[in-house]
Symmetry: C2
DNA sequence: CTTTTATATACCTACTTGGTTATATAACTA
DNA sequence: TAGTTATATAACCAAGTAGGTATATAAAAG
């Protein structure tokens, strides 16, 4: 994944309103008005959040008359996930090496 | 995980310099100077990035004389990872339901 | 004690962000 | 065609961010 794409994805995920929008979209496609309803926020604010999510590739939108139904897009989500898992794996590898080290140390100190 | 904690974690991950710092730290503990060296950026800038990573719980630091060795902290990384995986799972569940739907549709159309 | 080294803080600037209200566009409805 | 509904855009503002340079602090070396 391109660094700039990861920037956009993580930045998009860094806002609670946008994560809530994704949570809602995980339950299924919906419209902007329906999305905006539970938030104490103006419709333009939600439209802006959607634009951020769209630019990050986390959401895509169709056309149904005057509605612009939004749906979650798995690819970017998966790529951010991959990045995180990758570093978690490396860290865990370091951690287990530390474990081995501590184990060896213990053996030496209790012969 | 608290929403505010996720905010901080994802925001911290949304910067390429900070992700590069984590990449370096995944290889093992190191000092601020050593971290700053490969970047075309002032030392205070790196210190600021470290503060962001620390506030997000992604990095912690010890004390070794005048050095402040930094190490990666798995917990926050793991929690962000969990959040992402959770939504990926939900989305995949929706996707397989859509698969089932398309499968049913196909059967009906080719009797 | 003085100097050097490692790191942090203060202060400044340019840019971005998240929200607002007002308005535009575009598609239904009567 | 006129009015209403769904959504987007424009213009604005307050707050936050990423960078810079200069300086402070604190430990180490001499």
């Amino acid at each position: 994944m391109q660094p700039a794409a990861l920037d956009a994805t993580f930045a998009a995920l860094a806002d609670p309103t946008r994560r809530a929008i994704l949570a809602r979209l995980a339950l299924g496609e919906t419209t902007v008005m329906e999305l905006a309803e539970p938030f104490e926020m103006s419709q333009p604010a939600i439209s802006k959040h959607l634009k951020v999510l769209e630019r990050a590739g986390l959401v895509s939108r169709g056309r149904d008359g005057q509605r612009r139904p939004c749906r979650i897009e798995a690819k970017a989500l998966g790529e951010a996930n991959e990045w995180l898992e990758n570093y978690r794996r490396i860290w865990e590898a370091n951690f287990s090496r530390l474990d081995v080290l501590l184990e060896e140390l213990k053996k030496k100190n209790t012969p």
